[in-house]
């Protein structure tokens, strides 16, 4: 069989102020008809750049420095702009990363899909319209007439991604580059979108290059896997073999970082019933403008345990976190912390409790004042909550405590004088953890603390959180959309949907014997369950 796409020795560089920086080195692979090749790697590994090079869509400062990209018998790397336009959309198409910004917000989605047909076919207006209806039907829209006339803003993220898929397959290309097609989508939606791509591939024999950071998705959906690191393809092979018997050390490390395979996931000791309750929420309701974000939730968290709230976007889990940290007040119901009723404490009244309740955000960098260095960031709780007169004269009065907190978060002491902007995502999250821990709180609310991080970094952060919990007897309220992560770290879990807790219980029970339909659906949507096979 002849390959649809052959990439030989591809090297791509970006021009920067400091000269030419190569980001993809000597990458070679082939994709055969109907095959799915997953390019897996962490941020900065060059996987997206590789995908875009195949489409001739490198940013203006990007440049193919060497190697060849062959599509059937055409050498793409030798094409001029006109040749590219002819190939793109017709023969090779793209499902882009972010459906939120990939559609023109002021044009009807139907017309946007029609653009492809207008460019690459000679169908008349009526035929094009019919074809778009067909396509919308194919990608699973029920009311195609209505959706045809809608604007992107009226569609959810998953529906927008379907529109983009419809335009990617409009003229039945031979090859689709799917660049992180599901990142940012909820698990159940992710499953639907991936199923759709699978289905289309089976029907039309299209080849797919699936660019993803998620090994789970790659394991479930690809025939071959290519693992990228630092711009090099370090390993490639049939998916089952790469998963079962990884050859390269980096592949092994990636696999070991997948939450469901984390070693500590299987060695949790249950928190005894006898420990005191630190968080007690009774029939909590919170409405915004008449719409209930949280609609009657009740749960308790005992000292030293990790209680997870899991749900998809809009399920009310983050609102619950905001109520627990006193950032917003409950509309009704009761919230008790350490036995004290805090339901009607305002922001001012809650201040006394801040020493004991801290929060870590999803995006650490946004939670740091852009003008602050690491010392100022971590010092803030100490500075704000210290009692007695402020130490004057000394430039960094709490330097010792700040350094100790940084070291507890496994950061070197000299980070204290650096600026968060110089740090990596994982290091920034460690700084955020150091800030939360510097005043030695009892309860830490973790609001999606690892969703913005690469897998291997996320695994380290989880490990750090677990260690800190053991050392300091911390209580975690862990907010996440990722069930695999929740399973790795929690003692008990509550599944939220539309502001209600649909199921809660010990993590093993919820995961092995779910009692509601929705939990089953969620569990079903976890990507990469195959990855756990063969774990001792």
């Amino acid at each position: 069989m002849t390959a649809v796409l052959t990439v030989e020795g591809l090297t791509v560089g970006y021009r920067t102020q400091q000269g030419l920086a190569p980001v993809v080195h000597d990458v070679s692979f082939e994709v055969e008809p109907g095959q799915v090749l997953a390019l897996v790697g962490e941020s900065g590994s060059g996987k997206t750049t590789t995908g875009h090079a195949v489409l001739g869509l490198l940013p203006s400062n990007g440049q193919v420095l060497g190697g060849r990209i062959r599509f059937r018998d055409q050498v793409l790397t030798e094409l001029g702009p006109k040749g590219w336009r002819d190939v793109r959309g017709r023969a090779v198409s793209l499902i882009p990363q972010d459906p939120g910004v990939s559609l023109d917000p002021v044009r009807r989605v139907g017309h946007q899909v029609e653009d492809v047909l207008r460019l690459h076919t000679d169908l008349d207006a009526r035929a094009r319209r019919e074809r778009v209806h067909e396509l919308f039907d194919l990608v699973g829209f029920t009311d195609v007439e209505r959706h045809y006339a809608q604007y992107p803003g009226e569609l959810s993220g998953g529906m927008r991604q379907r529109v983009l898929i419809a335009s990617a397959i409009a003229v039945e290309p031979d090859l689709i580059i799917a660049d992180e097609p599901t990142s940012g989508l909820d698990a159940t939606v992710q499953k639907q979108v991936l199923d759709l791509i699978d289905d289309l591939r089976a029907r039309s024999g299209t080849s797919v290059v699936l660019v993803t950071h998620d090994l789970g998705v790659a394991a479930d959906r690809s025939d071959r896997i290519g693992v990228m690191q630092h711009g090099r393809l370090v390993e490639q092979g049939p998916t089952s073999q790469v998963i079962a018997d990884p050859q390269h050390e980096y592949t092994r490390r990636l696999l070991d970082s997948v939450p469901s395979r984390l070693a500590f996931a299987r060695e949790r000791v249950e928190v005894p019933e006898s420990r005191e309750t630190v968080v007690e929420v009774t029939d909590l309701r919170k409405t915004y403008g008449g719409v209930a974000a949280v609609d009657g939730t009740s749960f308790t968290v005992r000292r030293g345990e990790t209680f997870s709230l899991v749900g998809e976007s809009g399920s009310g889990k983050s609102t619950t976190a905001r109520v627990l940290t006193g950032l917003t007040q409950a509309t009704s119901g009761r919230v008790q912390l350490f036995g004290e009723d805090v339901t009607h404490l305002g922001r001012r009244g809650f201040r006394a409790l801040r020493k004991d309740v801290q929060i870590v955000y999803q995006n650490p960098y946004a939670s740091f004042d852009p003008r602050f260095d690491v010392y100022q960031v971590v010092d803030e709780p100490l500075r704000s909550l210290q009692t007695g007169p402020r130490a004057r004269g000394r430039r960094q009065p709490h330097r010792d405590q700040v350094v100790a907190a940084l070291e507890a978060a496994a950061l070197p002491a000299d980070f204290v004088d650096r600026h968060p902007r110089e740090l990596s995502g994982g290091q920034r999250q460690r700084v955020a953890i150091a800030r939360a821990l510097v005043i030695e709180p009892k309860v830490v609310v973790l609001d999606e603390p690892i969703s913005a991080l690469d897998v291997s970094v996320a695994a380290q952060i989880l490990e750090l959180l677990r260690r800190l919990q053991a050392e300091r007897d911390l209580t975690y309220v862990f907010i996440s959309h990722d069930l695999a992560v929740v399973r790795a770290i929690s003692d008990r879990v509550a599944v939220m949907r539309h502001g209600r807790i649909v199921e809660q219980g010990p993590v093993e029970q919820v995961f092995t014997a779910p009692r509601t339909e929705y939990t089953v659906q969620l569990l079903d949507a976890i990507a990469g369950r195959d990855l756990t096979v063969g774990v001792p």
Binding site: L20, R371, S384, R435
Partner: protein, 295 residues
């Protein structure tokens, strides 16, 4: 068969950083790359020096009348020539900087203080206050600024300070709007929320987070408004509503020279050019600040 494509664990070759030069050399290179900015700053520094110590730059008395030497063209003795009363024009331009610049400074100060206060209140408290202040700003913006300034001067009486206050009040709306949006942006940011959970008091949050982060982008606006204020004050003086004779002021000088524009063009040319150069310089600085703020 799983193939091992790349065995070696080499880190990617980082882009070779430009040779890290020593401090002074780097500064020199930066200056070379921003020579227009350096020029603009030099112009502004020069006119500020004129305003502070005019005597150091011009030896003639700006109001000493010399009927014998009136309306003389530019020469070695009188660089910009003399006016209809024989006063040295260069000296008058240099001394005029004080009135023009202090007027512009007062105007911008009034604009910033009143505007930032209103904007901060609107942005921080929101709700009714925000609506009330917002509508007030809308009304202010709907009146042509210069007309509004003239009206205020007429109410306050003529003079540089009155003109400056009038111009300042018209600038208020722009500052208020900018500060409001900046405060709003900071108030709803995650880092302010994080500061709240860290236990910071409202006062501390305003002082340590909201204000410093809101102020940066106002600097660009301050410089550009400074230029506009110079023009407006000169314009008011040109109309006779600002500086009163015999005190020199740039707009006043243009106005005085107007009668001789056909035969003694330099009388309007030099003060006019001075205004143009200074305003262009402040605009350029503002442009640079705005760009840096964005990056």
């Amino acid at each position: 068969m799983t193939t091992l494509v790349e065995q070696e664990q080499r880190a990617p070759a980082p882009p070779v950083p430009a040779a890290t030069a020593s401090g002074p050399a780097r500064a020199l290179r930066w200056l070379g790359g921003h020579w227009t900015l350096v020029l603009a700053v030099a112009v502004v520094v020069l006119v500020i020096a004129w305003a502070l110590v005019p005597g150091a730059f011009a030896s003639h008395d700006p109001i000493a009348v010399d009927p014998a030497g009136k309306l003389a063209p530019p020469s070695g003795e009188h660089w910009f020539g003399t006016d209809q009363l024989g006063r040295d024009l260069y000296s008058r331009v240099v001394h005029g900087a004080r009135a023009s610049l202090s007027g512009a400074a007062i105007a911008v100060a009034v604009g910033v203080v009143v505007g930032a206060l209103l904007g901060a209140v609107a942005g921080w408290f929101g709700g009714f206050l925000d609506s009330a202040i917002g509508r007030g700003i809308d009304v202010l913006l709907s009146i042509p600024g210069f007309l509004f300034a003239i009206t205020i001067v007429v109410l306050l009486g003529f003079g540089v300070v009155q003109a400056a206050v009038a111009v300042g009040l018209t600038l208020t709306a722009t500052f208020a709007r900018l500060v409001r949006s900046e405060v709003l942006k900071a108030r709803t940011s995650t880092y302010v929320e994080a500061a709240t959970t860290s236990g910071a008091s409202t006062f501390d949050i305003l002082r340590r987070h909201v204000l410093p982060n809101s102020i940066a982008s106002t600097f660009a606006l301050i410089t550009v408004q400074f230029g506009i204020a110079i023009i407006w004050i000169a314009s008011l003086s040109f109309l006779g509503l600002g500086a009163q004779p015999p005190d020199p002021e740039w707009g006043r000088l243009v106005s005085d020279g107007r009668n001789y524009i056909a035969t003694r063009g330099w009388l309007t040319l030099w003060p006019g050019l001075t205004v143009v150069v200074v305003v262009l310089a402040t605009n350029h600085i503002s442009h640079h600040l705005a760009r840096r703020d964005q990056s």
